[in-house]
Symmetry: none
Subunit: 209 residues, 4 copies
DNA sequence: GATGAATGAGCGTTCATTCAT
DNA sequence: AATGAATGAACGCTCATTCAT
């Protein structure tokens, strides 16, 4: 029962931390603030985590786990390449809206210099997506569905880049403002943006018929 | 003459600032450090700039100006659409390598929450590229060169996103590591990566034949 | 039986405390550490003792009791003055080596400012030795064995000071280093040092034949 | 002139620090408190000194310097051995009363575990007195003035121990209380105590006529 | 009675900002 | 105008002490 309590409390702490880090970034985030928002005292934070770096890593790990769990789904699908692209885009978008802080934390680590642990976590998750998309592009190549002249690894990087930008566009203020600037009245129409991205990725990667 | 001196000094200060902000990020950058590197006293910094935020904005403005100056070149070109894509990619890449700090500052503002002024600057520069690329895509559409079903605004956002990722990949550590992870031995081959990006962007945006 | 258990536990607690205080000093000693080493919870410590100061006093009392118990032995001896000096030195040295923590705690109270209780304890034990040595010196005077012109009280203070330094030299790092510095290769030879001290104390205090 | 100002300010800071460290010991001393007492802000402390350890070392060094300066005087005297002992005792006592904090700091380092620098300083000063007294005792031996059977090194350690106790007795609360306990009404009579110590040291170290 | 998780005051330390010189 | 020493709020973090279980 104590275990259970701990787990719940841990969840509250991690959520408060992720929110704060996502909102303010690592440096501006305050441990005292996080504790207050989690309804606990600072001391507790340091019972569970060695220091701010360590706690950030834990928040990051938590966020990245749900992210990589979601990515595991992709493997089980049995669809046409075109449909797979659309579904990945759709799933990524839905996920982004459900876990804004996860995406923001993901974005946060692209900026500053972090502890060894945070760096490892980031490398691990990027490694997973790198392998996933590289495999996928290699399979397309195998099936003669990848466009002539396109190298699978470059295709995978390109694909992931597009997904990153999509995720950031829905969660990181700067990218959201930029999206608005570009799209004008189309800004609100998620459906259509998704469709457009699908068309472009299709054209970029897949052989014509 | 004092004016002249001031301008030169200003340049030195802004460069020292941009270097520091690019290297350490806004929070970890030290005003004292910047002043020392610029060969002046902190007092001078606060004579020219209200506070750290304000100074960061000035550095950003300086960096963004060279960026937008470079973009102005694009208009003067008279080439085929395919060639234009390649040349923009090529110019952007060259620029990135020549002005790493400008790109890093550009990336820095995508993260944290900054002053109103920094936000306005960012919006202004994004506005310029938004208009540039939107105009360009509209022109393609007009000339019936844009792929069927592609909305120019979405194409412009897509195009700019790809350029951003390219720039970050060459200057921001995290993106560089990621590129390495995806590309493996292709990592060193800039020429080929550029070629691949061109192929994909071409396929994504332009009508076949 | 619970009483008995308590007493045993108390002994364990006090020993753990004395060890910690002796090793790290009052400030750096950690109540949690002590509790862990004693195999109990911090709560118990605060059941038995009001606070850290109070607990330190208890440890001190425990240590001082064995010290004063040992001193009681002196009374029962029936020896010549010269032999008495030698035996006291010898016993003190042996005791020091058997109870290093007691000596270290004793030294610890010479430094910081402590609670009223710790001060009283220290005064009490010093009072005992003061009376013991004063009585002893007065007896020597009575027997016309004390050196001419020497006041018994000053002799007692001098004697105790020498004993203190001897004890510290064998247990407190700083004094040990100092001893090494002075003695050089004689450092290892306890027997000889004891002999030398005896000679000097003898010469300082006792009448020549 | 700025140099001058700095030096004066430094003196104020060091004095405030020495007072605080002498009074409360290293751990309980507060940097903020010291700054307040010195009439400056904490920031200044960290301008001059790297951290608390470093600052303590500086205070210690300052105190030990005056101590070793005083000791240098001893060499210039040209007196009989008996007179030399008396004069050293007298000078040490006078010094102790003039620089209580120096003696208290000296005592402080006998307790806790300190930074490498503090340890080195302490070793250096002890080294000086060790050499001084060892030389002195060796000279006595040479002149056939040291008591038969007394080893000069042991005599030097014994002599320094007596001086330490004397110094502590006049400046460290615990030792002062103890002195009162032993001496009773003789407590106030410095002259007589000095005389007594001289008699005892004389008897301990020097050959009878 | 015993536990040990939780508290929070208070520490050492940093650094953007100010202002006397 | 230029300096850089001085300021002090605010941070991360610790640990003696408390109290719900």
């Amino acid at each position: 029962m104590l275990e259970k309590l701990s787990e719940e409390k841990l969840k509250v702490i991690l959520e408060a931390g992720s929110r704060e880090f996502a909102e303010k970034g690592f440096e501006k985030a305050s441990m005292k603030n996080i504790a207050n928002n989690a309804g606990i005292s600072v001391g507790v934070m340091y019972k569970y985590y060695k220091n701010k770096d360590d706690f950030f890593s834990a928040c990051l790990e938590d966020s990245l786990r749900v992210l990589s769990d979601k990515m595991d789904e992709f493997h089980s699908w049995n669809t046409t390449p075109r449909e797979r692209i659309r579904r990945i885009l759709s799933v990524v978008l839905t996920f982004s809206k459900e876990h804004p802080d996860a995406i923001r934390l993901y974005h946060e680590i692209t900026s500053s210099t972090f502890s060894e642990k945070a760096r490892e976590l980031a490398t691990r998750i990027e490694g997973i997506s790198a392998r996933t998309y590289n495999d996928y592009m290699a399979a397309l190549k195998e099936a003669n569905l990848l466009k002539e002249d396109i190298i699978p690894e470059a295709a995978a990087l390109f694909f992931d880049s597009c997904l990153m930008m999509l995720q950031f566009s829905y969660n990181v203020e700067y990218f959201d403002e930029r999206k608005k600037l570009y799209l004008g009245k189309l800004y609100e129409n998620d459906e259509e943006l998704l469709n457009q991205m699908m068309l472009m990725l299709d054209g970029a990667l897949l052989r014509r018929d």
